[in-house]
């Protein structure tokens, strides 16, 4: 237990919180667009968003590694324009996590919106409300369970990241050494006590979050 440190756990939750909040901003408008668009190439967009569900994290990690490399095209631009390094930094982990957890936010929200009766949207339009007002005042408040599911799945999925973090984040304490990486390290060093402490805490906290969500969702009867 001597090697146990709170830092990886705190970093994990900082990463998960930041990612989830940013995913709210990115994922909800994207889900809203996907739910109602008649764009011809919508299946292409949907397939791209769903890629992290099927690809090994190392594949994503590999391409992020190439993209974020400061000598590569994107990495060079980010560095010269914004002084932003995404390789082996917390910011890089956040960006990668957003892509990695995007389907977990988009899918439930999109499904929730698609399952609402079209008449709700149309009624709001006939009452003179714009698309934006209808989205925020009528549609989103009526898919609270889907929003909560998206929120929690994104959070939980980010907590569970390992391969991707290892590929582009490495193992820098306080920067990129999240709990899942710390567990791996401790096991490598045969520090089973510390590994168990991280693992058990992650297990209990993740279970607690999911249990809370299912309990709340059961109570939210919309119709």
């Amino acid at each position: 237990m001597t090697d146990f440190d709170w830092q990886p756990l705190l970093l994990t939750f900082r990463l998960a919180t930041t990612t989830t909040l940013l995913l709210l901003l990115v994922g909800i408008p994207l889900a809203g667009w996907l739910a109602f668009t008649r764009f011809r190439f919508k299946p292409v967009v949907e397939a791209v968003i769903s890629l992290p569900l099927v690809l090994p994290p190392s594949v994503l990690g590999f391409y992020f590694l190439l993209a974020f490399n400061p000598t590569g095209f994107l990495g060079k631009k980010l560095l010269s324009w914004f002084d932003l390094r995404l390789l082996f930094t917390f910011e890089g982990l956040v960006v990668a996590s957003i892509f990695y957890s995007l389907p977990f936010m988009v899918h439930p929200v999109q499904a929730g919106l698609e399952n609402l009766p079209a008449s709700l949207r149309e009624a709001s339009y006939t009452l003179g409300k714009s698309r934006r007002e209808t989205f925020f005042r009528v549609l989103l408040p009526n898919i609270k369970p889907s929003l909560l599911t998206g929120l929690v799945l994104s959070f939980a999925h980010t907590i569970g990241e390992f391969g991707l973090v290892l590929m582009i984040g490495g193992n820098l304490p306080g920067q990129t050494r999240v709990a899942s990486v710390a567990i791996y390290d401790e096991v490598e060093l045969l520090h089973y006590g510390a590994a168990n402490a991280y693992a058990l805490l992650l297990l209990v906290i993740s279970f607690g979050i999911l249990l809370t969500v299912y309990a709340i969702n059961k109570r939210w009867v919309i119709f």
Binding site: S119, L120, G128, I222
Partner: protein, 291 residues
Amino acid sequence: MGDILMPMLQLQARMNLLFASGPALLDVDFKLTTGSLTGLCGPSGSGKTTLLRILAGLTMPESGLIRVGDRIWLDTAERIQLPVQQRKVGMVFQDAALFPNMTVRQNVEFAAENRRDSLVDELLSLVNLVHLADRKPATLSGGQRQRVALIRALARRPDVLLLDEPFSALDYETRQQLLHELVRLHRQFGTTTVLVSHHQDEIHRVADCILELNQGKVTAIGSPAVAGKKSAVPLRGTIQEVQVEETTTRLRIRLTDNLIALNVPSGVQEWHIGQAIVVSLDTQTLTRKAD
């Protein structure tokens, strides 16, 4: 001259429709008097709902013209297309489409121009819903929900009120009550109203104009009497064929030199081939076929 003195709702529309029964062309051209309560009827798949949606701006016809009073809502020739939000319509949907996250009062306030609009309270009391104002739609009965939907549509102060079979899922008693309230509200507000219903008798009773649609075409328009509510002379005939189904019985009746088909409710009366019958002809509901 009449057009200038009597502002009206004019609709011309052409549109290809695809129903379960196959493709059909909606091709209508009619005018309704301002302040009228028009009953829109016709068999399912005749284009009634599409017509309401075109009026509301929820469906775009291939070509068309909609004029409400002196305002043009749609003129495809001139490329004018007022978005649904800018057409002052109130629409009541079959499923009421109340917003589940809002209370009854909030639903009605949502439609009003501002929250302090006195019309909200007035409407709530007109349909006796003041005591339910703070309830969520999920806790209301079907009839109460449709009442809320009706006053919500009126709170928008619409130029045209469109009702798409709003009472069809309700029981007979509630339906009569709501029709009565609709007529009362119509008298009070004088909003040009189009009511879709498949209950012919009821629609003839409350409407002051009947618009009949069949396979996308207007087959009759005018006052209920003119649109064929009652025939002047009862006709004698003989039943040729009886086809009993669960809810309706299809009769083929020979009337002098014509064979007509007539649908009547099953289980009310027994019918048999060769039976003499007197038909009080409602010409609009009969399908006439050559002998």
